[in-house]
């Protein structure tokens, strides 16, 4: 298990804005995802854990090993940290074959064991046939598997991955997720993964830490975070919500209901703990939670009429964008049935409503 408390400040310079990293987190077994926009400090966290960057203060503990302690002036070099690192460009040594890359990593093991181990790894990661070739002579998938195998051959206590699926095409990406799931099952090495891809968090992450400007703004399982973003900033970072300003008009904890005023319409919602009548809040609802139908007669409860401004085809369905900035997702077949609707109604299911 990794426990880290990090603080590092980069003063403002004429050629660069200041930046300060200040966070505390734990990563147990499984995959922990560091999610955040570029410049949020994700890679800096990895580099501090790996020992490439020295934090100003804090403490990094990996299992029972103290890797860094600002107060005690402990700062182990990367060599002594037992952290595997898979770089964004894989950083396979270009002048060595895939096998030599693995041998280089295994060199601290006894000779006999070394070769057995290298062969095992080549087999596990389906690299036996490509073992004699250099990195630039093999496929992207093989390069990727080799870089993971190379990091794992030293039996690290933690595996660090820096946007490993960045720039990969879809099949390669899917293959990579499979490899990483296999790693999780076979090697039991805790993984700390940096990404700014939300799908990746759901594919791989048991735990998710959301970073913004050097601070953790929310942590938890990806499902839980998507279900209830901690605040409007997190919701914006996740980029998966309709965020609509509104006002709370009524709250009834006994019946677990509320009324929310959105523009000229009033919606029924669940009770919102900790909120008061009259609060101006942001309604937060995912596009796939909205139910869209043709307008026939008067709108029912929680339905609002809205003109459709455009539709966008997405891999898993259609995205409908309505005037006023509301977007809704629906399956392709459903859209084909409804495409000739003249007027539209959007229904906000009461149970799906969240406010921030």
């Amino acid at each position: 298990m990794l426990q880290a408390r990090l603080r590092k400040t980069f003063p403002q310079r004429p050629d660069s804005a200041g930046f300060s990293l200040d966070l505390e987190f734990q990563a147990a077994s499984g995959v922990t995802v560091l999610f955040g926009p570029s410049g949020s400090g994700k890679t800096l966290v990895l580099d501090a854990v790996a020992g490439f960057v020295r934090p100003d203060e804090g403490r990094i503990l990996l299992d029972d090993d103290l890797l860094f302690d600002g107060a005690a002036d402990v700062h182990l070099p990367p060599q002594a940290r037992n952290c595997g690192y898979v770089f964004q460009n894989y950083a396979l040594f270009p002048h060595m074959t895939l096998r030599e890359n693995l041998v280089f990593a295994a060199e601290r093991r006894p000779r006999l064991e070394r070769h057995r181990r290298v062969n095992e790894m080549l087999e596990t990661f389906r690299l036996t046939e490509a073992a004699g070739r250099r990195p630039h002579e093999v496929s992207g998938g093989q390069r990727q598997r080799c870089s993971i195998a190379r990091a794992l051959i030293v039996a690290p206590k933690l595996l660090l991955l820096d946007e490993p699926a960045q720039g990969l095409d879809a099949p390669l990406r899917a293959e990579f997720y499979d490899v990483l799931r296999q790693v999780r099952a076979d090697f039991k090495t805790p993984v700390l993964l940096v990404t700014h891809d939300l799908d990746e968090c759901f594919e791989l992450g048991e735990e998710m830490l959301i970073l913004r400007e050097g601070k953790i703004v929310q942590s938890g399982s990806p499902r839980k975070i998507l279900d209830q973003p901690a605040n409007i900033e997190v919701a914006r970072l996740l980029g998966a919500f309709n965020l609509i300003p509104c006002e709370i008009r009524a709250l009834d904890p006994g019946r677990n209901t509320s009324k929310v005023q959105m523009g000229e319409f009033e919606l029924d919602g669940p009770y919102f703990p900790g909120r008061f009548k009259g609060d101006r809040v942001t309604l937060c609802v995912r596009p796939e939670q909205l139910v869209v139908s043709a307008r026939l007669g008067r709108p029912g409860p929680n339905q609002i009429p809205a003109p459709l401004s455009r539709t966008v085809e997405k891999p898993h369905g259609m995205r409908l964008e309505f005037e006023g900035g509301i977007t809704a997702d629906m399956p392709r077949a459903e859209f084909d049935r409804q495409r000739d609707n003249k007027e539209w109604l959007i229904e906000f299911p009461a149970s799906a409503l969240r406010v921030l």
């Binding site: 790996a50 020992g51 490439f52 070099p77 990367p78 060599q79 940290r81 952290c83 595997g84 690192y85 770089f87 964004q88 460009n89 950083a91 396979l92 040594f93 270009p94 002048h95 280089f104 990593a105 060199e107 601290r108 190379r150 990091a151 030293v154 690290p156």
Partner: protein
């Protein structure tokens, strides 16, 4: 009159030894300049580069003061080897080194700095010592540029005149390098010797520089 080829052989020998020393010392300095952060780092770089811009007489003067028979270094040398350093072919090596070392350090530093940092980082996370990292990763990845730098240093060593004259002198058959011999030949009106040596030296330098260019990564 037959041409005395000794100066050419001497110059080649001086260049080989000086390039070897420049590699041994210069790669180390260049690696430190490329990888370590410390105060006065750019001062160190400037000091190494200084001989490229100073007049040969200034350098010769420094060397005479530094390794002359009366200097501490000169005395230690004489104590160990039983003969003075100045006015021997070894002094010519020192003179050549003054120019080959800066050239090598400059190019090697750039070569080391152009190696993608992630390779070195990867090697470190794999537990490689700094020593193994240098020999197995950084140097192999930079080897083409390093060869090119060594070729350049070799070519420069071959052509030193002023400093060599001041510290090694012009003793035919002992310290007379090809550059000095050409000067001698011109002064004494020996046109054939001068012409031949000039053409041979130019040809050698041209071959080496072409080699250096072909080795440099594009």
């Amino acid at each position: 009159m037959p041409i005395d080829w000794f100066p050419l052989w001497l110059s080649l020998r001086v260049a080989v030894v000086s390039t070897a020393i420049a590699l041994a010392v210069g790669l180390w300095i260049a690696y430190i300049l490329a990888n370590r952060e410390f105060r006065f780092k750019e001062v160190l770089d400037a000091m190494v580069t200084l001989p490229l811009v100073l007049p040969p007489t200034v350098l010769g003067y420094y060397l005479l003061v530094l390794i002359g028979r009366a200097s501490p270094l000169g005395k230690i040398w004489e104590m160990i080897f039983g003969s003075p350093l100045v006015f021997t072919w070894k002094a010519a090596v020192v003179a050549a080194l003054l120019h080959s070392l800066p050239l090598l350090v400059k190019s090697a530093r750039a070569a080391f700095e152009s190696v993608d940092r992630s390779y070195e980082r990867a090697a470190r996370t794999l537990g490689a010592s700094e020593w193994r990292l240098f020999w197995r990763v950084t140097l192999p990845l930079a080897h083409r540029s390093i060869f090119a730098a060594a070729a350049l240093a070799f070519a420069r060593s071959l052509g030193d005149f002023g400093v060599t004259l001041m510290v090694a002198g012009n003793i035919p058959g002992r310290t007379q390098t090809v550059a000095v011999a050409i000067y001698d030949a011109v002064e004494s009106g020996n046109g054939t010797v001068a012409r031949t040596l000039v053409l041979v030296v130019s040809a050698i330098a041209l071959v080496i520089l072409t080699l250096a260019n072909r080795l440099s990564p594009r």
